[in-house]
């Protein structure tokens, strides 16, 4: 189904902003790993590097399609970009789920990991559901963390993953109604902006 045409261009811009924020989070995680050699920070770094790379590829592909004025020879790029973005997100969220599973060793997490091979087919509504499943698990873990720690930073991270989950619900609904396409991108950007807020707060820590 064709996306909302007027929104083309804005989606790329939003993805470029989200890419920059994902890279900033990855850099912060890398700094932490360099200082502490804590592996969870390395996994966090890899996860956000992948998320950023996927967003960049998808944003660039969509931009090329837009600049080519939707020339049919370039349309496939949009699909390719989306598939690469999807696979990057799949691996990134899987890494995060595995890290949370290792910390909590819960059954639900093991089920999430066990379900992954099914997803390695191609990007479609079913595989979008897998992303939602992974994100719901991550959002639930960050919600538990907020419930325990009650800090603003943990609330921002929970809000970020909740927004990213909502974004993928909108991406899923977009296959039914194109109007959900802008909402998905806005929700995705909002989630990344919450992560940026958390980064600002962390770097102001004395």
């Amino acid at each position: 189904m064709a996306p909302v045409i007027w929104f083309f261009g804005f989606d790329s811009l939003m993805e470029f902003i989200a890419f920059a924020i994902a890279m900033a989070v990855a850099l912060q995680a890398m700094k932490g790993y360099a200082l502490t050699r804590e592996r969870t920070l390395l996994y966090l770094n890899i996860s956000f590097l992948l998320l950023g790379a996927g967003l960049l590829v998808d944003g660039l592909a969509n931009l090329i399609v837009l600049l080519s004025r939707f020339h049919r020879n370039f349309i496939y790029l949009s699909r390719l970009g989306h598939t690469i973005d999807f696979l990057a997100q799949l691996v990134a969220y899987t890494i995060l789920v595995i890290v949370y599973v290792q910390q909590t060793r819960t059954l639900s997490g093991q089920i999430a990991v066990a379900a992954l091979p099914i997803a390695l087919l191609e990007s479609n509504p079913f595989t979008e559901l897998i992303l939602i499943f992974l994100l719901v698990y991550i959002a639930a873990q960050t919600a538990i963390n907020y419930n325990v720690s009650r800090t603003t930073n943990s609330l921002l991270v929970f809000g970020a993953f909740a927004s990213l989950t909502l974004a993928h619900v909108f991406f899923l609904l977009f296959t039914v109604a194109p109007i959900f396409f802008p909402f998905a991108h806005i929700s995705q950007l909002f989630g990344c902006l919450l992560l940026l807020g958390m980064l600002f707060r962390v770097n102001q820590t004395q």
């Binding site: 932490g32 200082l35 804590e38 920070l41 949370y100 910390q103 930073n153 991270v157 004395q206």
Partner: protein
């Protein structure tokens, strides 16, 4: 993370602390004491045996994050490098904590 199991004597198992974490604990005790801490205060504050404390203090001195003063009774201070390290560690701790990761 250590599984939540009870030991044979009915007490929870002691939590493992990495060498890195012990370094941070020692430096935090020194900072908490107003950047002037005697070995006894560090020993109790960081929950270490005397032998391990001596070993770790030597390693921290070699890293240049603490310095020793006093002749009869030794007193330990954080160096500028040590203060900066603790500030950076606090940021990393806040960042990891936001995701629910303990370091």
């Amino acid at each position: 993370m250590i599984p939540n199991v009870q030991s044979a004597v009915g007490r929870p198992p002691a939590k493992y602390r990495s060498q890195f974490r012990i370094f941070v604990d020692i430096m935090r005790v020194i900072q908490r004491e107003g950047n002037e801490a005697k070995p006894t205060r560090i020993l109790y504050g960081a929950n270490l045996s005397h032998d391990r404390l001596v070993k770790y203090l030597e390693e921290l001195k070699e890293l240049g994050v603490i310095q020793e003063s006093g002749s009869n009774e030794k007193i330990y201070h954080l160096t500028q490098k040590g203060v900066e390290f603790l500030n950076n560690f606090r940021k990393v701790e806040a960042f990891a904590g936001a995701f629910g990761f303990k370091i």
